[in-house]
């Protein structure tokens, strides 16, 4: 695997739209060609090379290409957008849409990300070592096809509206989450190792939420069923199982209504 290293040299005075920072865009290109890729500040078009020192070498294919991005990237959007393969490492906080619509490969952010990371994710792995913003792994506005597959792991906390319209894949939050989790979800799994506030599983059709910490307020549409032993994805313990959203539509299998499941840990 070949590596291209980007180091930001000029900070944009507004925000930098850099959806070209992906293995797909870099693969098979010379450094000069990569420097000529387009980025935008407002309506102005610039070269990637105008903002970044670029060194190293890109692989022949996305699979063989790794990108390391250094410097303060807190005003850079769209890193890793739509990537299908390869690897991106961001050694900084960064802004919105990290890994949005990504289909494969791996993104590691050694810092915080802002909203809409992993929007409409179809596959691959997104690892955030800091905190994540709102709408993590959610659907784009109006789309009923949210996160389809892949895995998002956040070491710190996440904001509101994670996993909206989630259909598949997995989101693991090491810390706490804000309101509205897995709204309208029809599949997938969300694991919250810290505490949750309220509106978990609102309008949820199918899928699973695991909460290891506290929940401020349970939705009226979620009913306690029983205590169960859980051993999933390294999470072991005794959990209270709730089913819902009782107000929402659900399909039936063999005459049995299939609800979304919310597990809250009682003891480790």
């Amino acid at each position: 695997m070949e590596t291209v290293t980007l180091t930001i040299k000029n900070q944009p005075d507004l925000f930098l739209e850099a959806d070209t920072i992906t293995p797909d865009a870099f693969a098979g290109k010379k450094i000069e060609e990569i420097a000529d890729l387009h980025v935008y500040v407002g309506r102005e078009q610039h070269r990637l090379g105008d903002f970044f020192e670029i060194s190293g070498k890109a692989g022949a294919t996305p699979e063989e290409t790794k990108i390391v991005v250094n410097g303060d990237l807190s005003r850079v959007k769209y890193i890793g957008m739509k990537m299908t393969a390869g690897e991106v490492v961001v050694n900084s906080n960064t802004d919105m849409y990290v890994g949005a619509w990504m289909q494969g490969g791996k993104i590691t952010v050694n810092g915080d990300v802002d909203a809409f990371a992993g929007t409409g994710m179809k596959g691959g792995e997104l690892i955030i070592k800091g905190n994540a913003g709102n709408y993590l792994g959610a659907a784009y506005r109006g789309d009923w096809r949210g996160m389809q597959a892949g895995k998002i792991t956040v070491t710190g906390n996440a904001g509101s509206d994670i996993g909206t319209f989630m259909n598949g894949g997995e989101i693991v939050i090491g810390g706490d989450v804000d309101v509205h989790v897995a709204t309208h979800a029809e599949g997938g799994r969300i694991i919250i190792k810290g505490n949750a506030k309220s509106r978990l599983g609102g309008q949820m059709v199918e899928g699973e939420i695991y909460v290891l910490g506290s929940i401020d307020l349970m939705m009226p549409g979620f009913a306690y069923r029983e205590d169960v032993d859980v051993d999933v994805d390294g999470i072991k313990g005794r959990f209270a199982l709730y089913e819902g959203d009782l107000g929402e539509r659900h399909r039936k299998r063999k005459g049995q209504t299939i609800y979304a499941k919310l597990y809250q840990r009682i003891e480790a």
Partner: protein
Amino acid sequence: MAEYLIKNGFVFDPVLGIKGDKADIAIKDGKIVETTALGSPKVIDAAGKTVMAGGVDIHAHVAGPKVNIGRNFRPEDKLFGYKARSGIERMQGGFSVPTTIRTGYNYARMGYTTVMEAAMPPLYARHTHEEMRDTPILDQGAYPVFGNNWFVLEYLKNHEIENAAAYIAWLLRATKGYAVKVVNPGGTEAWGWGLNCENVHDPVPYFDITPAQIVKGLIEANEHLGLPHSMHVHANNLGNPGNYTTTLDTFKLSEGIKPNSKFGRDQVMHHTHVQFHSYGGDSWVNVESKAKEIMDYVNSHENITIDMGQVTLDETTTMTADGPFEHHLTELNHLKWANADVELETGSGVVPYVYSPNIKVCAIQWAIGLELALFAKDPMRIFITTDHPNAGPFIRYPRVIKWLMSTEAREQQFDAFKHKDKVIEATNLAGIDRELNLYEIAQMTRAGPAKALGLAHMYGGLAPGLEADVAIYDFNPNEPYAPDDIETAFLNAEHLFKTGVQVVRDHNIASNGNKRTLWVNAKVDENPQVMRDVKEKFLRYYTVTLNNYEVTGHYLPNPYVIEVDATE
């Protein structure tokens, strides 16, 4: 205005009866003229290319309230699907429900110059006209909906044809409308209570009238006025297994009625998107094609025209004044549902829909649409549409043309179906080897719809005196081609002239054109009773005043009025 001479193209024109022979087409002052009438024209070399009149779309949902609901509530329909502003081209967006700007440009790119908006709620006429005003290039008109209108229900309940006609004339003037449209007659009024009318004899709640009375009465009123277009109907029971009997019952309502129109049409009923109305079986499990039965009737009755409503196997946005149908649809696919009932007049619903080649029913729908066109004896009476965007976006017309012209293309599609065998079993298409030729395509997309609209004196052909709407496609019918070459060519007209202005040059938009809005001004004898009824209903039941209802002035910056004298 510039003069043009389009030389040596292979011309396909049902009006002149030219079937692909080489001919020259002359343009002067916005009209087609004899080549001898030209002075020093710009010459367009069309050698080895296909030349046709500008396309005419008799039924599409391209402007108005429900179309804009479709745009505004589907951001995902525009995601990554935009085209940036450049030169004279304004920015464009949207796939199944494009912005007005893209609508105008994309029709032009396909060689179309006239597009009719198929359903205008009268109370929203201003909105519909604002959108048409902002749709570049195309000549357009809009059909106000009448089939659930309280005035109409009350007049026709007592068979008061003259009063119904006087009201139609008044509403066409008030809304600047073009024709009489009927959607799920009585059913949409019933939907005001969450109900529906599922066959032509199903009484309308409270109003004590049946869909059959509404349709027959509106045909008679339409002919009483002698309007350019016939009554244009979307029958009851759309989209349900076994509904072909309702469709045949609706057809039969036109029996024995002859056209009374100075505008050269032969039909008294246009039934739209018949694909959605040609289903046998009694459930989605055993649904099957009844296109044969439907077309046997159409072929043997000259006072009917139809359009296809061809399913294109895309993700799209359904939208119709058939409110109960859209509710039924959202119950099936659980996708977002918008509904917009309109006081005293009509209603509508909007639901996204994914026609997947992996779903048996979608594939059967695809086959049925094509069967209708391929069973047609008279291509001047059946027209290519997708009921845009209901069965698919209009941008797929070239693909529909490909399927109609090539058994190979149809076989390729059959092979792509997940349930190929079940689909073949439930339809006739696999056994049909007919391939339409370009002359028949010109009939189904130009001359036929123009005639049915009562606009044969303006559109649909290349005879001297007609509007200079001319499309030139980079397609040589006399050389071997692959099916996809057809789609490519008809998707990207090389040149397009619209009333003499070159709007597409070398496959690019060259002008925003000289767009016109057509409406019908029907003069009738004074009718004090109808005017009293109008005043009374506005006073008591409408939420806008009568004086704030009529569409006037700047909403139609470039109007084209078709005068009809229906006075005794």
